[in-house]
C-alpha cells in the first residue's frame, strides 16, 4: 500500500536546514554543534518511525514538485532505500559526536564549513536512499559529489588540493556519463521510476546498446564505490580529517556508489535483462579482481588510514559482486553488507582517528604497544577487524555467508574461493596492527600509561563496535535490517526459478 507522507522529505530537509543554521552560527561553536546533533537525532527519528510500516509491506511516497515537465521530485521508502537510509541516518549520530571530539581535540580550522558540508552530505545520502526515480537520484548524487568536495580539501594544503581535484575528476566525469545514460534510458523506456525487477527489457534496444548503456551508468556507481581501476581518488582523499574518512568510507559516498550499483542492477535494468545481455558477469569479474588486488595493496600500506581505505575498496566490491551475481541470496548479502561494512569500517576509522588525536600517530610502524595506552580503542579495533575478515558472530559474517550462498545458487563456486582468499588477506593486513599494539613493546617507551581518547570519541567507537557484535548475533536487532534486506532482494528477484533466469 502506498501512503502519501512528507516524512521522507522532512528527513532529507532537516539536515539541509541544519547546514544552513550551522553556517550562521559559526561564531558560537556550542550552538553550531547543537544543530548538528539535533539534526542527527531528528533525522534518525524520522527514518526509524517509518520502518514498521515499511516492514509491513507499505510504502511512503511523496512528490514535492515536478522536477521537469514530466518527472516528479519524488521520494519513496521501499525496503532497499529504507535499509540504506536507516544505516546512514543512524550512523550520523555517533559520527557527529565523534566529529565534535575529533575536531576540537585536533584544533582543526574551518570547522563551520566542515560541519555544514557534513550535514549536506548526510541529506544527500538519505536522498539517494529514498529517491523514487533516476533523475531525483541523480540530483542527490551530484549534490553528494559537490558537498563532499569541501571535506576533501579541508586541510587546505597542496596535497588536499590535488586530492580534491582528483576526487572531482573521477566523480564528475562518471556523473556526466551517468546523466547521458539517464537521458537515453528515458528515451528508451519512457519512464525513470525505479521498479523492482527493472523497467528496461531486451526488446527496447539492440543488445550492444543495452550493454553499453549499462556500463556508462554503472561507471557512475563504480567510481564512487571505488571498484578498480576507478578507485584512484579514494586513497588520495585520505588527507581529509578522520571523521570525513569515516563518513566517506563507511556511510555516505562509497555506500552511495554501491547503492547506485544495486539500484541500477535491481531497479533499472533488472536481473532478468542483465542475465540476458551478460553484462553483469563482466562487472562480477571486475569486482572479484578488486577484492583480491585491493587486499594485496592494503598489506603494503604503512599509513593506517590508507590501509583502511584500500580495505574499503575491497569490501565495497563485495556489494558490487553480490549485486552482479544476480542470485537472490547474493543480492540479500549485498544489501546487508552495506549495513555490516558501514558499522565495522566506521569503527575502524574512528579508532584510527582516536589514535591520531590522542597519540599523534599515523603510521602502523609507530604503533608498537599502543594497546597499553588505549586498550578500549584497540579492543574495538580488533572486533571490527575480525568482522571485516568474516568471523562468525560478528555482522560481517552474515553478509558474506549470503553472498557465498548466492554464488552457489548460480553455480559459480569460483567466487567462493575469492571470498575465502579475501577473508584471509583481510586478516593478514588488519590483525598485525592488533598484534603489535598489544604484544610488541615500544622501543621509545611511549604508551606506558593509560590514556584513552576523550569521551566524545570513545563512546561512539564502543557503540558501533558493540552493534557489530549484536547485529552479528541477532541480525534483526533494532530496525529489522535483515528483514529489510531480504524484502528488497525478494522484490527484485521475483522471477527467479531455482538455478537460473
Amino acid at each position: 500500500m502506498t501512503i502519501t507522507d512528507i516524512r521522507p522529505f522532512l528527513a532529507v530537509g532537516v539536515s539541509l536546514l541544519a547546514a544552513f543554521l550551522i553556517m550562521f552560527s559559526g561564531k558560537k561553536p556550542n550552538v553550531r554543534e547543537f544543530w548538528s546533533v539535533a539534526a542527527a537525532f531528528i533525522k534518525a527519528g524520522l527514518i526509524f518511525s517509518m520502518v514498521p510500516a515499511v516492514l509491513a509491506g507499505n510504502v511512503y511516497e511523496y512528490t514535492l514538485f515536478a522536477v521537469t515537465d514530466t518527472l516528479g521530485f519524488t521520494l519513496r521508502t521501499d525496503a532497499a532505500g529504507m535499509l540504506f537510509a536507516c544505516v546512514s541516518s543512524f550512523l550520523y549520530i555517533p559520527v557527529s559526536f565523534y566529529a565534535i571530539g575529533y575536531m576540537r581535540g585536533h584544533h582543526e580550522k574551518e570547522q563551520t564549513g566542515f560541519f555544514a558540508s557534513f550535514a549536506v552530505c548526510l541529506s544527500a545520502a538519505v536522498g539517494i536512499a529514498l529517491s523514487a526515480n533516476l533523475l531525483t537520484f541523480f540530483i542527490f548524487y551530484e549534490l553528494l559529489t559537490v558537498a563532499t568536495w569541501p571535506l576533501v580539501f579541508h586541510e587546505r594544503n597542496e596535497e588536499a588540493r590535488f586530492a580534491g581535484r582528483k576526487y572531482l575528476i573521477y566523480t564528475l566525469v562518471s556523473g556526466q556519463l551517468m546523466l547521458a545514460g539517464i537521458i537515453v534510458v528515458y528515451a528508451l523506456a519512457g519512464t525513470l521510476d525505479f521498479q523492482a525487477g527493472g523497467f528496461l527489457s531486451i526488446d527496447m534496444a539492440p543488445k550492444w546498446m543495452l550493454q553499453f548503456l549499462f556500463f556508462i551508468m554503472v561507471l557512475g556507481g563504480a567510481v564512487k564505490a571505488g571498484v578498480m581501476p576507478l578507485h584512484g581518488w579514494l586513497p588520495s582523499a585520505m588527507v581529509a580529517p578522520t571523521p570525513v574518512s569515516a563518513l566517506l568510507h563507511a556511510v555516505a559516498v562509497v555506500k552511495a556508489g554501491a547503492f547506485c550499483v544495486l539500484r541500477l542492477v535491481g531497479f533499472v535494468f533488472g536481473p532478468t535483462l542483465l542475465a540476458q545481455i551478460g553484462a553483469a558477469t563482466v562487472l562480477a569479474w571486475f569486482a572479484a579482481f578488486t577484492i583480491i588486488a585491493s587486499s594485496l595493496i592494503a598489506m603494503k600500506q604503512d599509513n593506517l588510514k590508507r590501509r583502511l581505505a584500500f580495505s574499503t575498496v575491497g569490501q565495497l566490491s563485495y556489494v558490487v559482486l553480490g549485486a552482479a551475481l544476480l542470485a537472490p541470496l547474493s543480492i540479500l548479502g549485498a544489501y546487508f553488507h552495506i549495513v555490516a561494512h558501514a558499522l565495522m569500517k566506521i569503527t575502524l576509522f574512528m579508532c584510527a582517528g582516536a589514535i591520531i588525536v590522542t597519540a599523534h600517530k599515523d603510521n602502523i610502524s609507530d604503533m608498537h604497544g599502543i594497546g597499553r595506552k588505549m586498550p578500549i580503542t584497540m579492543a574495538c579495533y580488533t572486533i571490527a577487524s575480525l568482522g571485516i575478515a568474516g568471523m562468525p558472530f560478528i555482522v560481517g559474517f552474515i553478509s558474506k555467508w549470503n553472498i557465498a550462498l548466492g554464488a552457489l545458487q548460480v553455480s559459480q563456486p569460483f567466487y567462493i574461493v575469492v571470498l575465502i582468499c579475501s577473508a584471509l588477506l583481510a586478516l593478514s593486513y588488519l590483525m598485525p596492527v592488533t598484534h603489535l599494539a598489544f604484544f610488541k613493546p615500544n622501543e621509545n617507551g611511549e604508551f606506558k600509561t593509560y590514556g584513552e581518547a576523550n569521551k566524545f570519541m570513545l563512546i561512539p567507537i564502543c557503540v558501533t563496535a558493540a552493534l557489530s557484535v549484536i547485529l552479528g548475533i541477532m541480525p534483526n536487532f533494532g530496525p529489522h535490517l535483515y528483514d529489510l534486506a531480504s524484502m528488497a532482494a525478494q522484490s527484485i528477484t521475483q522471477g527467479w526459478i531455482g538455478g537460473g533466469w
Binding site: 514538485f65 515536478a66 522536477v67 521537469t68 515537465d69 533523475l135 541523480f138 540530483i139 551530484e142 549534490l143 559529489t145 559537490v146 568536495w149 569541501p150 580539501f153 587546505r156 588536499a160 588540493r161 580534491g164 581535484r165 572531482l168 564528475l172 566525469v173 556526466q176 556519463l177 546523466l179 547521458a180 537521458i183 537515453v184 528515458y186 528515451a187
Partner: protein, 497 residues
Amino acid sequence: MSQHFPVLIVLLPLSAALLSPFFSFMYRQAGKWIAVAALAGSFLCSVGLLLQVTAGGGQAIHYYMGNWVPPLGIEFVVDPINAVIVAMITFLAMCTAIYSTPFLKKSNWLYMGGYYTLMALLCVGLSGMTLTGDVFNLYVYLEIASLSGYGLIALGGNKGTLAAFRYLLIGTIGASLYLLAIGFMYSMTGSLNMADLSVLLQDKMDYPLMIMVIGLLIAAFGIKAALFPFHGWQPDSYTYSHPGAAPLISGAMSKVPAYAMLRFFFYLFGAQHLFVQHGLTVIGILGALGIILGSVMAIAQDDFRRMLAYSSVAQIGYIAVGLAIGSMYGLIGAILHIINHAFMKGSLFMAIGGVQYRFGEFRISQLGQLNKKMPFTVFTICVAALGMIGIPPAGGFFSKIYIMQGAMETGQYIYIAVLVISSLLNAVYFFRVMENIFVNPDAGLKEINPTAGKLELPLQMLIPIVLFGIIILALGFCNASVVDCIIKLGLPEVFLG
C-alpha cells in the same frame, strides 16, 4: 491601462532616458531615481503582460502602434515566450540599475545622467527587439540597443573605449547584413510584418534567394549574439565594460539576438523547410564548436571577467544547439537556457563587480579566502558556477537536460556528447575558481572602498547579488512550472502535436 502594457514597457524607460540628464542637472540623485523607477515600472508592466498572456492560454496579444492596423502599421506581438524574456530583461535592467549606484558615487551630474540614459536605452532596445512584430522595427531597436551598449562599454575606461569601437565596427556589419536580409524578404513579399511575412513566405521558401536570406540572418544574429566564430568582439567588450553595467550587457545583450534568431527560424519561416533545416544544422555545428572552443579558451584565462566572456561564447552555443535540434524539448531547453544564462552570467558579473568595487581585484588567482570577507557574494558565485556547469539543483542543469532530451528525441546523439564534454570543461574552470577562493591562502587584498558596518558590500549591490543567487536556485526548482505554464504555451503548434 492594462491593454497598454506592451508599449509602456518600452515607453517608460525611453522617457526616463530622455529626462534623466535634466533631472540629474537639477539634483544629482534625481536622474538615478527616475531611471530606476521607470525600469521598475517597466518590469511591473512586463509581469502584468506575462500574467495577461498566460491567463489567455497563450493566445498572442497584438498591440497596434497608434492604432495603425498591420501589415501597414507597426505592431507589438506578445506571446508567452517573449513576455517571459521581456520580464527577464526588465528585471535584469532594474537590478543592474540599482546595483550600479555605488559605482557612480563620486561622478558629476552629466556622467550620472548619461549613464542612466544609456542604461534605460539599452533596456528599451532589448525589450523592443523582443516584443516587436515588425522586422524593420526590430532593426531600429537592435541599433538602439547596440548604440547604448557601445556607450556603456566605452564608459569602462580607455580599454573599454577601444573595445567599444571595435565592437561598433563588427556590430555595424551585423546590422547591415540584417538590413540586407530583410531587404530581400521585402522585395519578395512586399511586407515587413512578421505575421504577414510568415504567410507570404511559405510558398517562396524553396527559392534560392532564401539561402541568401538565411545565411545573412545567421551571420547578422550570430555577430550580435557572439556565436562562434563571430565572437571576436565579445571578450574585450565584456571584460572592459563599465563594471556596473556589465551584468545587463553580459546577461541580456547577447541573448536577445539569439531569441530573434529563434523567432525568425521557427515562427517566420517554419523549421520544416529544407533550407531552414540546413541553416539550423549550420547553427548547430557553429554552436557545438563554440561550446568546445569557448570552454577551452575560458580555461586559459586568469581574468575572471574574461573567463566569463569566453564562457558566454560556450553558453550561447548551448542555445544554438537547442535551436538546431529543433524539436519541442530542444526549443524548451534553448529558451530556458536564455533565461537561466541571463541570471547566471548576470550574477557572476555582479559578484566580480562587487569584488572589483571593494578590492579593485578581478584576477582569479587573487581571490584566496574571499569566503571569509564576502560570504554572500561567494554563495552567489558558487550557485551560479554550479548552474553554469549544470549541476543540480541550479537552473542550468535543467536547461541542459531538456536540450539533451531534445537531442535524444531527434537522434542527434552527437550533441549529447558535446554537452557532456562541455559540462566537464565548464567544471574545470568554475571549480578552479571555487578552489582558488576556498583553498588558496589569503591574498591580502587592499580595500579601496571600505564598507561601513558589518556588510560586505553596500546594500544596493548586496541585495541584487543575493537575490540573483536565490533566483538561480528557484529557476531550478520551478523549471517545470516555467516550462508548463509559459514556454509550452508559446511554442509553435507543430511541436505540441
